[in-house]
């Protein structure tokens, strides 16, 4: 299996990165950003939408910042997992990503911008040719979605990043930069419901860092991940929760590994002010389960994954309330 050839650009600064991106765009050359490469390069090897140019963020100065309230896109997950300055919830979530080997390369930015996954899509070129391609990588054929046939408007590939749920539960904001300048938005607005578009990044734009609000450190959080093996596996379901102990309305709950984008469940929280009590917690968990509709494109069946949402949520809520 050969990785298709590409030109690797290695800017040293944000400005240089943006100008390379602008140059490539004006030359009509499609490109990808790469951080740790643990997601992009395997996909390239499988010929999943490879591009002729790749811009590496590895050498961009300051991109690997790792501070209490600011985490750079190039911060390695291993460093996050073992850091004493970041929020314990982030460290816990990072420690659950893939394997120790991968965490050494993988980054926060890469995890947040992780390509969505689907067992009709994450396959070799020969394999996908034999199913006559799919909507996400249709190779110009206009192929149908293989998960839900007869719909080729939306890609339902599953977002299986772990970090997003943890960051969302801590009310994080992301800072994006591009040729048009920079902008900031809450992380839950960063994702866009489509397995192909995935997020709001515009051409030439990339995620530079994640900001946490000042009160994030007062939050107590927990992340529960469902997977068959305790290493390597992407989340089949994941629920992160955090609150400022004593203030039930401060609860934030986010889920991942279940739909095309991670979910922020403000509605469910608002409807269940009594979540700190046993019965309230049960109702909350059931309501969360109802709010999520996974499809059949990962290792475990969707009905089961959905049922596990309430178990994971219930455990996460129990975990964060037990500490006070």
């Amino acid at each position: 299996m050969l990785t298709p050839p590409f030109i690797l650009h290695r800017p040293r600064s944000v400005e240089e990165a943006c100008s390379i991106a602008a140059d490539l765009a004006s030359a009509g050359r499609p490109f990808d950003w790469v951080a740790g490469g643990t997601d992009l390069l395997p996909n390239y090897k499988w010929h999943l939408n490879p591009k002729g140019d790749v811009i590496s963020l590895a050498h961009v100065e300051g991109a690997d910042a790792l501070e209490t309230n600011r985490v750079g896109c190039m911060a390695r997950l291993h460093d996050v997992a073992t850091s004493e300055v970041v929020h314990p919830l982030l460290a816990a979530a990072a420690a659950k990503v893939a394997s120790s080997l991968i965490r050494r390369s993988a980054t926060v930015g890469g995890n947040l911008c992780l390509d969505t996954r689907c067992f009709w899509y994450n396959q070799s070129e020969d394999w996908r040719r034999s199913i006559e391609w799919c909507h996400k990588a249709d190779c110009g054929t206009g192929a149908d979605c293989r998960v839900i046939p007869n719909q080729n408007t939306l890609c339902v590939a599953t977002y299986q990043g772990d970090m997003a749920a943890a960051f969302m539960a801590l009310d994080a904001e992301v800072e994006l930069v591009g040729p048009e300048g920079e902008r900031r938005m809450p992380l839950d607005e960063f994702f866009e419901l489509d397995g192909m578009k995935k997020n709001v990044l515009m051409p030439g734009e990339f995620l530079l860092c994640v900001h946490l609000p000042d009160d994030a450190s007062t939050r107590v959080g927990a992340y529960h991940k469902l997977r068959v093996r305790e290493t390597w596996d992407f989340p089949e379901a994941g629920v992160a929760a955090s609150w400022i102990p004593g203030d039930a309305t401060s609860l934030r709950v986010a889920s991942t590994g279940l739909e095309s984008i991670p979910g922020m469940h403000t509605d469910v929280v608002e409807a269940h002010a009594d979540w700190t009590e046993t019965e309230g917690r049960k109702r909350f968990s059931k309501a969360l389960q109802k709010a999520i509709k996974p499809v059949n494109n990962t290792a475990l069946p969707p009905r089961y994954r959905r049922s596990m949402v309430s178990v994971l949520a219930s455990r996460a809520l129990r975990a964060i309330t037990q500490e006070d």
Partner: protein, 934 residues
């Protein structure tokens, strides 16, 4: 002895002439005792000499015919594998490490369709591409091959039809991989798609276009490749069953998951001989198949087995890509290298058959196993591979270790349009064993007895015969059960732990070497041959065809030679890579290597030993019967100060003939019955094992974590305890994969959805329990120093042990594997519904109050223990056949004693079809009978 040792006798210092020149032939040798890693000869270690020959090594299982060959050198000593250094330093050369000058790269064009007729292949555009040096298609090699001579149904590349996605269509050799890939894209193939079949159950129905056609032996117009039936025993025993367990299982296909993908290098040398490098378990089959497909005599082919990065049965077929490389190399005149992607590894597959297995167990009021009925429908995929054998193994390997009142087995293997299933560690025995052992657990529950006591009261003794006529020799089953019960704390834990924590038992039984060499009559040619050559330097070169696939066969062969000749292991050099120099050998499958090759090696070493002892006799004047081999010395038994060094004796022995050459062979003794399929499952010895597994089940999510395993395996005699323990722990890992997470997922469209190591979920180190390996030594009378296999049998018990532990933990018995969390969760939900429980944490784990039978079984087990000990130590040599427990006289044929006791060769299709899917294969007639009727 001072002053060193000379090749020829003569005065001290007589090796130089007066003019200072050396006298011809008077070479100086290093002092006696030199050679090997230790400078000085060490005295015999009596702790490793068996008691029967005057040593201190205890022999609870009795003495052994090889005891007198023991020198205390290395047998029984934990020994690092002799090829370990090469592997850990990266010097081992695996398939893809072979780099020949001027090589080109081969790639294979594979079918995008499940099932299609090839209308045309146009390679002209690809041929015209610069850098492409050769292209081949099915037309270049139309002859069929297959691992079994009776089912040759494979081609190097598809001829006429492609039979699964990934089936080989054409191949290209080019200057580099990128060019080869590009050329594949330029080959135009026109297909006519045919209706594919993925469900083995539908393979039993007549179709327009069966995947293969067997002519007059074809079963109707179905996709049934092989059907088997065997029935023995007395059915009246099950009429008044006190307990009965019937379960229909579904086992997903699993893959070996070896580290090294298939790779091959083919090169036609300057003399026009084919040199083929391949990581093969069975180089000899490849050798034969290459000769057939390439139309070249076998002596013009040299198969070179590279280091093998894991096999587990998945590298034991001759493979089409091996033919492709040879064909391409012949066409372009340059060495061709083909290395698979992981996906291609899954497409060639040969993993364990996806199976539908129904098992019915009946126990009578005495807690005896009155009936065992097995119906196994196995999904063979697109080719026969080892399937003919697998079809039998799924039943016949369940006929021990328990004494059965009756045994009915129906099996069928069907072709489907999926990658071919084949042999995998525990070949054919694993799935049925799981079903049988879980069934016994169920029976024990119904009878309110302890499942270990139930087993102990129903074991076949050593030196007995199974219901289907297998000859059991040594049998350490009872000892294995006793040890795991004790060490696991079974009696305190079983049915006594809180919800979510469970403990379970499972047993295993496996062949130690298939009794029948597939390609020849065992009476006309031995199973294994070993050559030994000892030249002047004293180093011992051993030639064997045993294929070391990481299991340590090279080390085992070196060890037994080292033991017999009392030489350090580093003086033994095993050469096993080339068919040019290796004697013909069947290779590494059916757990035969230790048993057969080591026996052959011992025989060859005995010949060398005799030459050395005779030479020492000449030199010392003591008869060989009074001489003993100690570390690099031969000494007088009653006064070790009288002796000669190994080199002295060797050179004396070489005086007239030069290097000592010896040869040893192994052939299995005649055995087995005469019924159809009687040879399947026959082995010169059988291994036994018993495991206890402890699990934690998350009752809310269904996640099962195996935390502890006590694994007792009877390997006869651990030649190398380190390797045996490694095999036990490795088997646990592999079996845990099948029981907890591994499966080949075929999706809605029939495609293999997880042909990669991320989604094919092999357990990681986190999932690995703490395994306590327990070695049981039953000293097999025919095994080398008493040894039997330890490579496959240890896999079997882990599956049922975990299943039974899950039941102990949460009271559910899912009957499909793997027990992924969703499967267990669904079973828990079902139990909650039936018991109207809202919260899974409120479920009650199963509990046991012993019934009246318990005491009776314990007493019977106790009696049998005394019986077995006497038989094991051959203090009692009376015959014993399956059926004695049911009141038969073992000295008279059973069918004379009871009318109902029968060997049924002529099945009744209607009643078989009631049992399960495989039985329905018998409702159809073979073409030849259909023509008769027409």
């Amino acid at each position: 002895m001072s002053g060193g040792y000379r090749q020829q006798p003569g005065g001290a210092g007589g090796e130089t002439r007066k003019d200072g020149k050396r006298v011809a032939g008077k070479l100086r040798f290093k002092p006696p005792g030199a050679g090997g890693s230790r400078p000085v000869s060490t005295p015999r270690d009596l702790d490793r000499i068996p008691e029967s020959v005057g040593g201190n090594e205890p022999q609870p299982a009795g003495h052994h015919v090889h005891d007198r060959l023991r020198t205390g050198t290395i047998v029984g000593l934990p020994t690092a594998l002799v090829d370990a250094n090469a592997k850990v330093t990266g010097q081992a050369w695996y398939g893809d490490d072979v780099r020949l000058a001027n090589e080109v790269i081969g790639r294979i064009l594979r079918s995008p369709h499940h099932y299609a007729r090839i209308r045309s292949i146009d390679t002209s555009a690809a041929e015209a591409m610069p850098g492409v040096v050769a292209i081949a298609t099915g037309e270049d090699a139309p002859k069929t091959f297959g691992v079994l001579p009776v089912t040759k149904d494979e081609h190097a590349m598809a001829v006429e039809k492609v039979r699964h996605v990934g089936d080989l269509v054409a191949c290209v050799a080019a200057v580099d991989e990128a060019t080869a890939m590009e050329a594949l894209g330029a080959i135009v193939v026109e297909y006519e798609e045919l209706d594919p079949e993925f469900d083995p159950r539908k393979g039993l129905e007549d179709v327009d276009e069966p995947i293969h056609w067997r002519g007059k032996y074809h079963v109707g117009r179905t996709n049934v490749q092989k059907r088997v039936h065997q029935a023995f025993g007395d059915r009246s025993n099950i009429e008044n069953a006190a307990a009965s367990s019937r379960r229909a299982w579904r086992f997903e296909g699993v893959h070996h998951g070896f580290t090294e993908p298939h790779a091959v290098v083919a090169h036609w040398d300057a003399n026009g001989r084919l040199q083929l490098y391949t990581p093969q378990q069975v180089p000899h089959y490849t050798h034969r198949a290459l000769a057939t497909v390439l139309d070249v005599p076998m002596h013009q082919i040299n198969v070179i087995r590279t280091f093998v990065g894991g096999g587990f049965g998945g590298k034991s077929d001759p493979f089409p890509h091996e033919m492709c490389a040879a064909i391409l190399a012949r066409k372009c005149g340059r060495p061709v290298r083909i290395t698979f992607d992981r996906e291609e590894v899954y497409w060639i597959n040969r993993g364990r058959h996806p199976s539908y297995i129904e098992v019915k167990l009946d126990a009578d009021e005495d807690g005896r196993v009155a009936g065992l009925d097995v119906d196994a429908l196995i999904d063979g995929g697109a080719f026969a591979s080892f399937g003919h054998v697998t079809s039998y193994y799924n039943g016949v390997l369940a006929t021990a270790p328990y004494e059965l009142g009756s045994f009915h087995y129906t099996g069928a293997r069907v072709w489907t349009n999926k990658p071919a299933s084949g042999a995998m560690r525990g070949h054919g025995a694993v799935n049925t064993r799981c079903a049988v052992e879980v069934g016994l657990d169920d029976i024990a529950e119904q009878l309110a007895v302890d499942p270990i006591d139930l087993r102990l009261a129903n074991l076949l003794p050593p030196h007995s015969r199974t219901i289907s006529g297998f000859r059991i020799t040594s049998n350490g089953m009872r000892e294995a059960l006793r040890r795991v019960r004790e060490e696991s704390g079974w009696d305190e834990k079983f049915r006594n732990m809180p919800l979510g924590k469970g403990i379970g038992i499972g047993c295993g039984f496996f062949i130690s070497g298939s009794g029948l060499p597939i390609h020849w009559d065992p009476n006309r040619f031995p199973h294994a041959t070993v050559h030994i050559q000892v030249d002047m330097d004293g180093g011992v070169t051993v030639h064997t065809g045993a294929a070391d696939i990481g299991q340590g066969s090279t080390t085992a062969v070196a060890q037994v030679v080292s033991e017999v000749l009392a030489l350090p292991l580093d003086m033994i050099h095993v050469r096993s890579h080339e068919s040019d120099t290796s004697p013909v050998d069947l290779g590494s499958y059916s757990s035969r290597v230790t048993f057969m090759n080591c026996n052959a090696a011992i025989r060859a070493a005995m010949e060398i030993r005799e030459s050395l002892l005779n030479a020492a006799w000449d030199m010392l004047g003591y008869h060989p019967s009074t001489l003993v081999m100690v570390d690099r010395r031969i000494v007088y038994k009653h006064d070790p100060s009288i002796g000669v060094s190994y080199l002295q004796a060797l050179h004396k022995a070489q005086e007239d003939k030069g290097a000592l050459i010896a040869r040893g062979a192994y052939r299995s003794p005649p055995m087995g019955g005469v019924h159809k399929g009687a040879a399947a499952g026959l082995a010169p010895a059988y291994s036994f094992s018993a495991y206890v597994a402890e699990v934690d089940v998350d009752v809310e999510t269904g996640l099962v974590k195996c935390t502890r395993v006590w694994a007792a395996h009877d390997c006869g005699k651990a030649l190398n305890p380190l390797a045996v323990e490694g095999q036990i722990i490795g088997s646990c890992h592999m079996g845990l994969g099948q029981v907890l997470s591994e499966r080949m997922v075929y999706g809605r469209t029939g495609h293999l959805q997880n042909a990669n190591l991320l989604q094919y979920q092999i357990p990681s180190v986190h999932e690995m329990p703490h395994v306590t390996p327990i070695i049981v030594e039953s000293s097999d009378p025919e095994g080398p120093f008493g040894a039997k296999e330890a490579g496959e049998g240890p896999l079997l018990p882990i599956l049922p042990a975990v299943c039974n532990a899950v039941y102990d933990a949460v009271g559910v018995r899912p009957s499909s594997l793997p027990l992924t969390p969703d499967v267990v969760w669904t079973a828990i939900q079902k139990r909650m519904k039936s018991e109207r429980v809202e919260d899974p944490l409120e479920l009650k784990p199963p509990r046991l109050t012993h019934g009246p039978l318990q005491e009776k079984l314990a007493a019977r087990g106790g009696e049998h223990q005394i019986r077995d000990r006497a038989r094991q130590r051959t203090e009692d040599t009376s015959p014993y056949v399956n059926g004695v427990l049911f009141g038969f006289d073992p000295t008279r044929p059973i069918d004379e004693q009871l009318e109902g006791w029968a060997v049924i060769d002529d099945p009744d299709p209607e009643s078989m079809a009631e049992m399960g899917y495989a039985g329905r294969a018998w409702l159809k007639q073979e073409q030849r009978h259909m023509e008769d009727g027409a």
